[in-house]
């Protein structure tokens, strides 16, 4: 079986066109990350002066790491005078080479506010916020218990459990992660490469008239179908791993830091109500795995669609239409409260930050299931259904159709 998988992989995926596409799209992805950094980073040359970056990392040695009262006092001792001087906006905006940033007092205030004060305040206050959520959940639990609403009771119990003992004790540089978790462009590129590469997995047997020959060999039937599916899975996982690694390395290098790996995910303001308690590096890994799984479900869809056609171009267009429809559906329901319509779409796994940003629940026979779990389960169900569809269709119609076609030609 392993030999068969290796041959299937070689046959369908070790093609110069695919390798070139992967390389070109990797460059494209890096270029896109560069443009994101250039347009958004507080340290990019298009937004601020080069002194910001140097100043940030100098001060980071002092203020980075565990948040202590001394650090806060020291930071506020710098920031408060700046804030007071600029409060009524009457301070001079003339260039002052002696200022922290080498610009003027307003720039100094912004520098400290955006890079240190606000992030440190968010981190410092988070524990209080989490405790408030826990208290609210507890009072909700009491209430729902008193009126006998067990579903809402359980829901609040989960919220309580997730928010209990949450705090951010470390101050770290998170700008890179802030943009990294929002980056979906490479996933779209991966989907396009999968679409192009997977179209030929079953169609090539029809195009080369090998489908008949395969059926006359001992391993040419079910075994070959499974070998193709496994080879496709290996390809998708390798392709995704490559792009996720390229993304992570490009983000880290372009933003100039590998910091914050152990900082909790909820340290990002976008994830204030995150449903999972993981670190940023764990989230990067988890998100990559879930994205990969989502793309694999899409790949199975592409493979199933390709089983119905003899012409790769038609199959490509139909699959692309499905893909765009699912992306569109995801966009439509993303911000809505229609949780089921959101999570039934496997594309939600590809842009999975929506699943982890907040606590949403799905009623599973009276049990409140956090929606990321439900989305994963639904995607597993899709994957199984699509795999079943492929094996049944390829065996029953796809291959025997070839013989039928030849027989009809006999008439």
């Amino acid at each position: 079986m392993i030999k068969l998988i290796v041959f299937e992989f070689q046959k369908h995926f070790l093609k110069p066109s695919i390798i070139v596409a992967v390389l070109l799209f990797s460059i494209l992805s890096i270029a896109k990350i560069h443009s994101i950094q250039n347009a958004n980073s507080l340290f990019s040359s298009s937004n601020t002066t080069p002194t910001w970056k140097g100043l940030y990392w100098n001060l980071y040695e002092e203020f980075g790491g565990p948040i202590t009262n001394e650090k806060i006092e020291k930071l506020m001792a710098i920031y408060r005078p700046l804030e007071n001087q600029t409060a009524d906006r009457t301070a001079s905006s003339d260039h002052n080479p002696d200022s922290y940033t080498g610009g003027n007092i307003y720039m100094d205030r912004n520098f400290f506010m955006w890079n240190y004060v606000n992030p440190m305040k968010y981190a410092y206050d988070y524990k209080i916020y989490a405790n408030q959520v826990v208290s609210a959940a507890e009072s909700n639990m009491d209430f729902f218990e008193s009126i006998g609403n067990t579903y809402e009771y359980k829901k609040n119990a989960v919220i309580k459990e997730r928010f209990q003992e949450r705090s951010i004790t470390i101050f770290s540089y998170k700008e890179m992660y802030h943009y990294y978790v929002q980056y979906d462009f490479s996933a779209f590129l991966v989907l396009l490469i999968c679409l192009y590469s997977l179209m030929h997995v079953f169609i090539s047997e029809k195009e080369t008239d090998m489908e008949m020959l395969l059926l006359t060999t001992k391993s040419g039937n079910n075994k070959t179908v499974f070998a193709k599916l496994i080879a496709s899975a290996v390809f998708v996982y390798m392709l995704c791993s490559w792009f996720w690694i390229v993304d992570f390395v490009a983000f880290s290098l372009l933003f100039g830091s590998f910091e914050s790996a152990s900082t909790p995910l909820y340290a990002l303001e976008d994830f204030v109500n995150s449903s999972i308690n993981v670190s940023l590096s764990q989230y990067a890994l988890l998100s990559g795995l879930i994205k990969t799984f989502g793309i694999f479900v899409f790949s199975l869809l592409f493979l199933l669609v390709s089983c119905f056609f003899k012409n790769a171009l038609v199959a490509f267009i139909v699959s692309l239409s499905f893909m765009i429809s699912l992306i569109f559906m995801n966009e439509v329901y993303m911000g809505s409260g229609r949780t089921l319509l959101k999570i039934i779409n496997p594309f939600v796994l590809v842009v999975n930050r929506e699943l982890f940003r907040k606590m949403e629940f799905v009623d599973l026979f009276g049990y409140p299931m956090i929606h990321y779990m439900a989305a994963i389960l639904l995607a597993v169900a899709w994957g199984l259904l699509l795999t079943l569809g492929i094996t049944v269709f390829v065996k029953k119609n796809g291959l025997s159709k070839g013989a039928k076609r030849h027989a009809i030609m006999d008439l």
Binding site: L213, G220, L399, A407, D410
Partner: protein, 284 residues
């Protein structure tokens, strides 16, 4: 090795692609001769198990192939019609792949592939991409893959279609070479493919077996039925309308017409030796 087809029928949308086909085959080359659409490919597809017949059975050494399961596949080597194979595979890689599909152990497969490539004179091309091979070379790769498992029954569906005369002759010789101690089932509509190498011929027409026998027996059946008529232009038209014509040749202002007919078509007609092409024309 014996193969027996017993009352095989297959129909599509009420029309028979094959009807009550019965035949016995023994070692040697067996040519299935029929016009396009006669049911040759349907018969082969049913035999190799990729198409189910509506009725009937196929027996190998008196054993029903349906009861043999996958073991049946180790008996056969198959070369389908117009195979393209995988263009980005090297010849040797393609053969290795076929060995894996046929469950042939690696070392044994490697040895067999090299021997067969030697036989078909493709040793030098073993590292060439299949996409870079000529049609004839590709067909030779095709017969090598069919022979990898040393089958008792070699099935070739229109193997010479699209080949130039030189490649066709080369391929014919290979078939004869491979027919030792096995049945070679060769479906074709090209008479010359089987005329000199077939031990027996099955004539198939509209899904029915018209005639079965050795080429000589079939030719002998046309004794006193093939005539050479020498005619003028005016008489030629009349002859063409009245009789089955297997050949016509102009020579020094005269026209020599080869006529197939039960009776002497003309007082000056000369009886000539029949060939397999005449047989084909007589029955179709």
């Amino acid at each position: 090795m014996k193969v027996m087809f017993s009352n095989i029928s297959k129909q599509y949308k009420g029309k028979y692609a094959l009807k009550d086909f019965s035949a016995k085959l023994e070692n040697g080359v067996c040519g299935i001769l029929g016009a396009n659409g006669a049911g040759k490919t349907t018969l082969i597809n049913i035999f190799v198990g990729i198409l189910k017949s509506d009725n009937g059975h196929v027996y190998i050494n008196d054993k029903d192939t349906k009861s043999m399961g996958k073991h049946f596949l180790s008996h056969i080597g198959y070369l389908p019609q117009y195979p393209q194979f995988y263009k980005n595979f090297e010849v040797i890689d393609f053969l290795r792949y076929m060995c894996v599909l046929k469950d042939i152990p690696k070392k044994q497969g490697e040895k067999r592939a090299k021997e067969l490539l030697e036989v078909v004179n493709l040793s030098d091309a073993c590292n060439k991409k299949i996409g870079a091979l000529s049609g004839g070379m590709r067909q030779r790769v095709g017969i090598v893959q069919a022979m990898l498992n040393d089958p008792n029954i070699l099935i070739l569906d229109e193997p010479t279609a699209g080949l130039d005369p030189q490649e066709r002759i080369r391929f014919r010789n290979l078939i004869a070479q491979f027919s030792e101690n096995r049945i070679v089932l060769l479906a074709t509509h090209i008479v010359s493919d089987i005329e000199y190498i077939a031990n027996q011929v099955l004539l198939l027409k509209e899904g029915r077996l018209m005639k079965q026998g050795s080429p000589q027996v079939l030719i002998d059946g046309l004794k006193e039925k093939v005539w050479m008529v020498t005619a003028t232009n005016e008489k030629m038209v009349e002859t063409l309308q009245q009789y089955k014509i297997s050949n016509m040749m102009r020579d020094h202002g005269k026209i020599h017409i080869r006529v197939i007919h039960e009776e002497k078509p003309d007082a000056h007609a000369v009886n000539v030796q029949a060939n397999l092409e005449d047989v084909f024309l007589y029955y179709f």
